[in-house]
Symmetry: C2
Subunit: 206 residues, 2 copies
């Protein structure tokens, strides 16, 4: 089954399919299936869907302090008095905040860079929220900056750049541990990770 | 990574994710990915998306004659003077029309039932467009009705019901061929299909 655009019997249908098919990872067949599903729903439910998209884009804000997505000028995490506000965890994007929050292991605040340094993609230090991170250190009396960026070359570059920018501020700079994933077998762990986890071995707390 | 609803840092975000996640086959992680993609798009593009959904549902029509989706009261296929208007192909839904059109092998018109008889799902003959099919036979001087429903028990039940309803009208009732799919090997064809394709063998037109 191959659906060509000119084969859709309705321009309205075709437009809606095109919109869904423009989303990453959705093909035209999936898009058609979703649109036909929506067609079977009551009008007010489809309107809710459309309104959620309109409002999302029109009204969404980003926290003035950490740049996480937020409905308010300052996000609930930055507002919370129960968080350790002298520790900042630096992440690439909003999803990473959610991932770390879901671990339940972190009680500090965040700083969302909105990307990582990637010369290949033309993204330099000025394109992401590094200046605003540096500017937080003194007024917020930050004690520790935890780098939680991807363990890729771009992540490492960004880590190093931030580390240099923070040197002289006296803040402690750490990075999240790299090593074997929990539940993995040695034989299925790639050699770079395994080699690193030997070098970075920690004291056994029997 | 497990994202719970209460973990979304924004109600707007959460609402949009919920809408996408309500679509069939989309999980919460995919929904989040799509929403974050839309967040990165310009506002007018997101507005186009929302408008396409609103207009689709508000303005879409179904052809008065064949019940295919249409932007006009009578769909382009029913309007066309180049189609054989005395042959009706009966299909379950809109997608099936598109599938048959894409074969380029059919030049008649259609009748979209909008479902098939399924006692398990509480769908009876009155819930789908069977009466309107029967009512087309005489005024449109239909010569042949081709049943192109799924080759399932529900499809067979619906086929038989339509056949009974059309008996006495003098119209020729046919059904699409069932047999081995083109390009298949015998050893990978299920035995019911293979058995049927032997019983329903056709003259070899060498």
């Amino acid at each position: 089954m191959q659906f060509e655009m000119q084969d859709y019997p309705s321009i309205l249908l075709s437009n809606a399919v095109n919109e869904f098919a423009s989303l990453p990872g959705l093909g035209r067949k999936t898009a058609l299936r979703l649109v036909l599903h929506l067609l079977r729903q009551p009008e007010n439910e489809v309107q809710h869907f459309a309104d959620a998209l309109t409002r999302l884009k029109k009204e969404v804000r980003y926290c003035r302090i950490c740049h996480n997505i937020s409905d308010t000028e300052v996000c609930p995490i930055c507002q919370s008095t129960r968080r350790d506000r002298q520790t900042i965890c630096v992440v690439e994007n909003i999803q990473d905040v959610m991932s770390i929050e879901n671990t339940g292991q972190y009680s500090g605040v965040y700083h969302v860079l909105g990307g990582i340094i990637s010369p290949m993609d033309g993204i330099g230090p000025k394109d992401i929220e590094i200046d605003s991170l540096v500017e937080r250190i003194v007024p917020e009396q930050i004690q520790e900056v935890i780098l939680a960026l991807p363990t890729t070359m771009e992540g490492d570059t960004t880590n190093f750049y931030i580390y240099k920018r923070l040197s002289g501020t006296g803040v402690r700079v750490t990075q999240i541990a790299r090593g074997m994933a929990i539940g993995n077998e040695l034989e299925y762990t790639d050699e770079i990770t395994l080699g690193r986890s030997i070098l970075n071995r920690t004291e056994f707390a029997g």
